[in-house]
Symmetry: C2
Subunit: 203 residues, 2 copies
């Protein structure tokens, strides 16, 4: 199934040299992240290592956050496909409430496996438009089926998505430790609580 | 009442020249924000306009986001005082559930009045430790009273705080418009829904 309406993925109709530059930049950026860590990747350094002009890098990614956004892109596409057409309960075949719970758990695992990258992909000055966030899209879609009365404005979908992604993107459990400790397990449990509370009160 | 346990506000025991530099930098930064807008404020430009060394600015704020964090600081202290000791339902005197709802509404208004600054104060690479977030603190404190069984791990408080702050900090309703349109009203309504769903299912 085509994930219609999610403007995520490679732009269409790029010129051949632009496509090559993009692939090359992403490859170099990926190596830099693996080698140096996310903090050390800058636009200037990326341009230099890629042997391309700074202008090309800026046009391609817009901001430093755009580099990391592009790196997440392939994983994000694969993740979305599991949601859209993989096995239940993440994919179709389970109830909307079960899918919402499974979506939250899979999404947390996705973000936790890529925390530094996902945080670096945030650009606080250019926040994600909801229609550009696959999570807002999926939560809204499932919420509309699970509890149609709760989902009319879209605000609850936005808040539930923030409840899902915000603890990992905005906050840390213990800033002294790189290991976030028991947070993921508690977050997974309380996501179930949150979804069930909402769905049950609209039944 | 002293907002105990929130490491927000001016560091104690600063040397007199450090205190003066800080006050001067904050004053200059405030003028720059008013004059140029948040995007245009950089560490370098701030150092130059303040007539101080770049090293001093870096030591004081750590990162560019740290500048905006410091600018929010005074407003944040005033806001916290309204929560800790102002009139109900935001301050003490109403039920914990009513205070949680009032807290959410007041917090959204606070962030919406300072959206650009609050977003610029986010540093995705140095996320807020929950103990450094007044919102996590207040939501957790009120949730412990409103529904003690829901609040044991702290994860639900973290998720509700993200549900409250995340839509404003992470997402925009319509990226084409500086006016976020009807989002605030819908968000305010769905915050009530979320709090009531959680509190009622634990009664």
């Amino acid at each position: 199934m085509e994930p219609v309406g999610i403007p995520w993925g490679k732009p269409r109709g790029e010129r051949a040299d632009a496509v090559r530059n993009r692939a090359h930049l992403i490859e170099v950026a990926r190596r830099m992240v693996a080698e140096l860590g996310v903090d050390k990747v800058t636009m200037d350094e990326l341009a230099e290592r890629a042997g391309l002009g700074k202008g090309t890098v800026f046009r391609r990614f817009g901001t430093r956050a755009g580099i990391f956004h592009a790196l997440l892109d392939e994983d994000e596409t694969e993740f979305q496909q599991r949601v859209m057409s993989g096995p239940p309960p993440l994919g179709p075949g389970a109830s909307a409430e079960e899918r919402l719970i499974a979506y939250g758990h899979a999404r947390m695992a996705f973000l936790l496996a890529r925390t530094a990258l996902a945080r670096a992909a945030l650009d606080p000055e250019q926040p994600v438009p909801p229609e550009g966030s696959p999570s807002v899209f999926h939560v809204q879609t499932l919420l509309r089926v699970a509890c149609p009365d709760a989902a009319t404005s879209g605000a609850l979908a936005l808040q539930l998505t923030a409840a899902l992604e915000g603890p990992i993107l905005l906050y840390v459990q213990n800033p002294q430790e790189s290991d976030p400790g028991p947070m993921p397990e508690y977050l997974a449990d309380s996501w179930v609580t949150l979804v069930q509370c909402v769905c049950r009160s609209y039944r």
